[in-house]
């Protein structure tokens, strides 16, 4: 008798949390190295007027680690598929999705597959490609050699790499506790998963998909983001048909943590619009 493989229930697999009240649903999707707790400031601000859906991507936070497979998650489409399954499970349609970092592209892919699920996408620090492309003159912020060095550092001593990477990504050196928080969530990831996921993200290229997105999109771009240079925000806004770029007064790659009020304020402006 063959063992029937039952996918772990989506709620368990993605550690789904639904809270708040309101007709409109906002899905908050975290980025690499963090988990749903990164959105606590925004949750606090919006939960009284919105239904809020939080989840952890497989491999991160309190997701079901048994559901992780380096093969399956070798493509951002798999995360998008997970997201769509989550939407189907919760019977969501016309939801607003706020996606940080990699979740920007994940939600874009999900919206390409099933646009009916989303009414608006809000990207925070998203990038369609991290590697510079000399042929097309695209600036992603990294040379391939930089990334190879980064993977090397990650594999030789993950925890040492974390302690170096967290402050750089977080920015805001005058508040070291922020970097410590990010370092903690980074360290919580299984090092093998972290390395595989980082590789998938940094090597991804979804520039070709941008023009196909129909869902209205807002791009929040902060300053001195080590992973996403300012020009990437311009690129996104230029290539996504129904997009609007907002440069926010915040530093580093995780503005929702380091400058929560600015991010919350900008999001509520987008919701009101």
């Amino acid at each position: 008798m063959q063992q029937l493989y039952m996918p772990s229930s989506i709620a368990k697999r993605n550690n789904v949390e639904v809270l708040g009240q309101g007709k409109q649903t906002i899905i908050f999707a975290h980025g690499f190295g963090s988990d749903q707790t990164a959105w606590r400031h925004q949750v606090e601000a919006f939960q009284s007027n919105y239904r809020i859906v939080l989840f952890d991507h497989v491999g991160a936070g309190k997701s079901d680690m048994a559901a992780y497979s380096p093969r399956r998650y070798s493509s951002l489409y798999s995360y998008a598929e997970d997201l769509l399954e989550l939407c189907a499970e919760l019977k969501l349609s016309q939801a607003i999705l706020v996606g940080h970092s990699v979740s920007g592209m994940v939600s874009l892919l999900a919206a390409l597959i099933d646009p009916s699920r989303f009414s608006q996408l809000i990207f925070v620090g998203a990038s369609p490609r991290y590697v510079n492309d000399a042929e097309t003159g695209y600036i992603g912020g990294f040379e391939q050699s930089d990334l190879d060095a980064l993977y090397g550092a990650m594999s030789s001593n993950y925890y040492a790499w974390v302690s170096g990477f967290a402050p750089i990504a977080m920015g805001n050196p005058e508040r070291p506790e922020l970097a410590t928080e990010f370092a903690n969530t980074l360290s919580a990831i299984r090092p093998d998963i972290a390395q595989a996921v980082a590789r998938v993200i940094f090597q991804s290229d979804h520039r070709a998909e941008l023009p196909r997105l129909k869902v209205p999109t807002v791009i929040l771009q902060s300053n001195n983001d080590v992973a996403v240079p300012l020009v990437v925000g311009d690129y996104l806004a230029k290539h996504i048909p129904n997009a609007r770029l907002i440069n926010i007064n915040a530093q580093g790659h995780l503005p929702h943590i380091s400058a929560p009020r600015v991010v919350t304020q900008t999001i509520s402006e987008c919701l009101a619009a």
Partner: protein, 890 residues
């Protein structure tokens, strides 16, 4: 009615959106021409036969209802229309019945024909599957099959999926290409079909709970999942989907299910091909990475292959090559080698038998640069086709390294031999003059007409000489140990006598302020098997140190059995020397075993060479033990070591006392020629031989020895090896080639302590070898062996056994008593005589003098007893030392 019309519209629209291909079974591709032909003929016959026009409709109706699906709306409309038409026409009822019959029969005919069409489609597809397996790549075969399947099933999309792991499935082929948003998806898509191991049909896909979001998002309404499961290895599925809700007809289901098996095989074929590709990729990577050239030739001459390195070596393009071209290139390479003779000889050896394994067939090249190739070859079989695999390894670097290493080794060995010779020479050259210096210093010191200054000067010369001699002995010992030339020579000996001997010596040596205590703890073995000489050396050193570094108090010498921690049933003994001396600080403890390190204040360091403990430790290590020490500065030190001394219980042949004294031999007198350039050495040997009745003659060098031997015609020659004019080796060679003297017994006598001389002299042709100083017992044993002598012994005296336990437990008082006793005797003049005799090595003289003293006064016994013991053991050095100790104490 409305809903039916809607249904009709849907179907018509569907037809438009998704027209069936002409070859689709539903279009009856094989029967349609027949039906049409039949209809045409029937119609023609009717027209020509004058049938009423009403009946002309019948064949048309038949063709329509046979060739097209029985759309209920159309059938109903036809019925209604027909009836209306009949009524309007007011026709014959028979005509109407005929038409009705045709209308009812045609669908039955259609169903029958459809079954046949589907069957034929199944057969066609299965045939194409098996055909395609061998002709196209698995991907192409799968793509082709999937296309056909999609067409026959009128599906909007078809996907072949393979499960990669528990949560990952990969789309091998998707029709259309964008059927899935990505190559990767989840196996949940086909999990149910795999578990139930049958085709699953979802006519209304959106309502099932596990529906895939990616398919739903595309608007998929119906799905069929065909599981492809190969035991445990491969899991996958074919997923067909439709954008409209469809009913799965039994014919379609049957068709899909009958295809499953063939598709499963195809998937396995694909899997095998994939693995083969991976293996090939790996093999290629290996072959291109290894530094050896690899060549495969099949012996039927059909196939040949070589890797990148082999291609460079043979000057051929890499990859597949004609076996003839490879063979020619290899022959050309072989003929360019410089060691043709060796190669040909080895080839003759290799190729005389079939299926030979060739290993390390070396081809040497000087041009264009030095190169050494090592070829290996193994016969291999590829599907019963014999072939050969060649590996060509460039071993130039290894070969050059080997050559260099061999040269270095030879140089090192030659340097080592030179060092050994140097040590042998030094040993000889240094001891001889030193013995002269020391001997004459002793004699000079006896002169009465010396000034105080001269006496002091002589004392300094004496002490320095003694020190130098000890140093030379120690350095030689140490270098022998370090060159690993020191070996233990264990033998049986009387352990009690050995200990008593030591104890007596140190009781005498201990100063007045020190109590020397000997504590043997029973049970101790009576006889043991060990290297007596080295064990004594170790204990002498430890006891001498204890006395040397103890100003006052006591020195305790303990010997006791210890628990054998390994339970090997071997007698393990602990030797322990405890003193109340200056002690050693913890910092010094680390260094006392290093050469030239000593404890205590500066003035004490003048004594000894500083090598004693180094040698002692090395010797103890040779005995398989380790010397231990605990010490407290100012309070004293304890040194000990545990050593396994196997007890000898079967000592029937051994006597407790020394063997009786040899006084002569039976039979004719034997003649012995003593050849040595030093009169002292000759004197010692003559002194040993003459009293036993040997006729002796002396010669001063090799040449002199040859001359004397010619006249004297000796029975045996004792030959020194290192001499001026002609050395011993040369003399031995000449003697051996002399017709009259070639059989004479020759015993080499050498001061060299190295094995080297023994070996060389034996090769030169001598019968035996005696190291200097010559021990009487050894000399006599050699003579007895080679001259076949029967000794005459002195009648043994009846003396009580001295080595009973109980008697050995003695303590302190002796030295004081001894000194007191000696003070009453004319000790100094007697000791001077003994010292002279000892310096000359005249042991017999000492024995005679001891007898004389003992007869004169029994009080001498405390001195003569230990001395006689040492003399009987031929311990010349210790005899000398003991006599000096006695004199110093006066």
């Amino acid at each position: 009615m409305f809903s039916r019309l809607n249904l009709l519209r849907d179907r018509l629209l569907h037809r438009k959106a998704n027209p069936l291909s002409p070859c689709h079974p539903e279009r009856l591709p094989s029967f349609a021409p027949l039906v049409l032909g039949f209809t045409g003929i029937l119609l023609t016959l009717e027209m020509l036969g004058g049938c009423p026009p009403q009946l002309w409709v019948a064949p048309v109706l038949f063709a329509w209802f046979t060739l097209y699906p029985p759309g209920k709306g159309i059938a109903l409309m036809s019925g209604v229309g027909g009836t209306g038409w009949l009524v309007a026409w007011n026709g014959d009822l028979r005509h109407f019945l005929t038409l009705l019959l045709v209308g009812l029969i045609s669908p039955l005919v259609r169903r029958n024909l459809l079954e046949r069409e589907w069957q034929s489609a199944t057969q066609t597809m299965l045939a194409s599957l098996t055909q395609n397996e061998t002709t196209a790549s698995p991907e192409q075969a799968i793509a082709y099959t999937l296309t056909t399947l999609k067409t026959f099933a009128s599906a909007d999309g078809a996907i072949v999926l393979r499960q990669l792991d528990e949560v990952t499935a990969e789309a091998l082929i998707s029709l259309p290409e964008n059927a899935l948003p990505d190559r990767l998806t989840t196996p949940a898509l086909f999990a149910e079909a795999i578990v139930e191991n049958r085709c699953i049909y979802y006519p209304d896909y959106p309502v099932i709970p596990t529906a895939a979001a990616v398919l739903l998002a595309k608007g998929v309404q119906s799905v069929a999942v065909l599981p492809l499961s190969q035991e445990e290895q491969v899991r996958g599925a074919i997923v067909l989907f439709w954008y409209t809700s469809i009913q799965f007809s039994p014919l379609l289901q049957q068709f899909l299910e009958s295809l499953l098996k063939g598709m499963g095989n195809l998937l396995r074929f694909q899997e095998i091909t994939l693995r083969l590709d991976q293996l090939q990729a790996r093999l290629r990577a290996i072959l291109e990475t290894i530094p050896q050239g690899v060549v495969f030739v099949d012996e039927s001459g059909e196939e040949g292959w070589l890797n990148h390195v082999a291609a460079t070596q043979l000057g051929l393009p890499e990859g597949a090559a004609e076996p003839i071209a490879i063979a020619q290139a290899m022959t050309a390479l072989r003929l360019k080698a410089d060691n043709q003779e060796d190669i040909t000889r080895q080839a003759a050896q290799f190729f005389t038998q079939p299926q030979v394994e060739i290993r390390d067939w070396q081809w040497f090249y000087r041009q264009p640069q030095r190169q050494v190739l090592s070829l290996s070859s193994t016969p291999i079989y590829l599907r019963h086709l014999p072939g050969r695999l060649w590996v060509i390894d460039d071993i130039t670097e290894r070969w050059e390294a080997d050559v260099a290493m061999q040269q270095a080794k030879e140089m090192a060995e030659s340097a080592n031999r030179a060092k050994s010779e140097f040590l042998a020479n030094m040993s000889h050259e240094l001891r001889t003059p030193l013995n002269g210096i020391l001997g004459y210093t002793q004699i000079l010191k006896k002169s009465t007409n010396l000034t105080e200054q001269q006496r002091n000067g002589l004392e300094i010369i004496h002490q320095s000489g003694e020190h130098l001699l000890t140093l030379i002995n120690d350095v030689l010992d140490l270098s022998k140990i370090e060159a690993r030339k020191m070996e233990l020579h264990p033998h049986d000996f009387h352990f009690f006598a050995f200990l008593e001997n030591l104890v007596q010596m140190f009781k005498v040596r201990a100063r007045q302020e020190i109590t020397f205590v000997y504590e043997p703890i029973a049970p101790l073995p009576k006889f043991v098997w060990a290297d007596e000489k080295r064990l004594r050396q170790v204990l002498l050193n430890l006891l001498s140190n204890a006395i040397k570094f103890t100003e006052q108090g006591r020195v305790i010498f303990r010997v006791k059995p210890v628990e054998d921690d390994l339970q090997l049933d071997l007698a393990k003994l602990r030797f322990e020397v405890e003193d109340t001396g200056v002690g050693i600080s913890p910092e010094q403890l680390d260094t006392i075993f290093l050469p030239f390190q000593q404890a205590g204040e500066k003035q004490r360091q003048t004594e000894g060479t500083g090598l004693g403990l180094t040698i002692t430790r090395q010797l103890v290590q040779l005995m398989g033990s380790e010397i231990q020490v605990v010490s407290q500065p100012g309070k004293g030190s304890t040194f000990w070591f545990d050593v396994v001394l196997p007890e000898i219980t079967n000592h029937g042949g051994m006597t407790v006392s020394r063997p009786p004294l040899i006084v002569g031999y039976e039979g004719q007198r034997c003649k012995v020629l003593v050849v040595d350039n030093q009169w002292e050495n000759r004197a010692v040997l003559l002194g040993l031989l003459q009293p036993l009745g040997f006729e002796t003659l002396e010669a001063v060098d090799g040449q002199d020895g040859l001359n004397k031997a010619d006249e004297f015609m000796p029975d045996a020659i004792l030959m020194d090896l290192v001499m001026p004019v002609m050395d011993g080796f040369e003399a031995i060679r000449r003697l051996r080639s002399s017709p009259t003297l070639k059989d004479v017994v020759i015993i080499a006598v050498s001061a060299s302590t190295l094995d080297f001389d023994q070996e060389t002299s034996r090769r030169a042709g001598c019968n035996g070898f005696l190291p200097k100083p010559v021990h009487e017992a050894e000399l006599l044993e050699h003579l007895q062996t080679y001259l076949d002598l029967a000794w005459i012994y002195q009648q043994p005296e009846e003396k009580p056994q001295r080595w009973e336990t109980g008697e050995v437990m003695t303590t302190a008082k002796t030295p004081i008593a001894f000194s007191d006793t000696l003070a009453l005797l004319p000790a100094r003049s007697e000791l001077d005589i003994l010292l002279d005799l000892a310096m000359q090595g005249d042991l017999q003289g000492i024995m005679d003098h001891i007898d004389h003293l003992e007869q004169f006064d029994e009080r001498w016994l405390s001195l003569t007893r230990p001395l006689a013991q040492l003399v009987r053991g031929f311990e010349e050095q210790q005899v000398l030392e003991l006599i000096r100790q006695y004199r110093d104490r006066l």
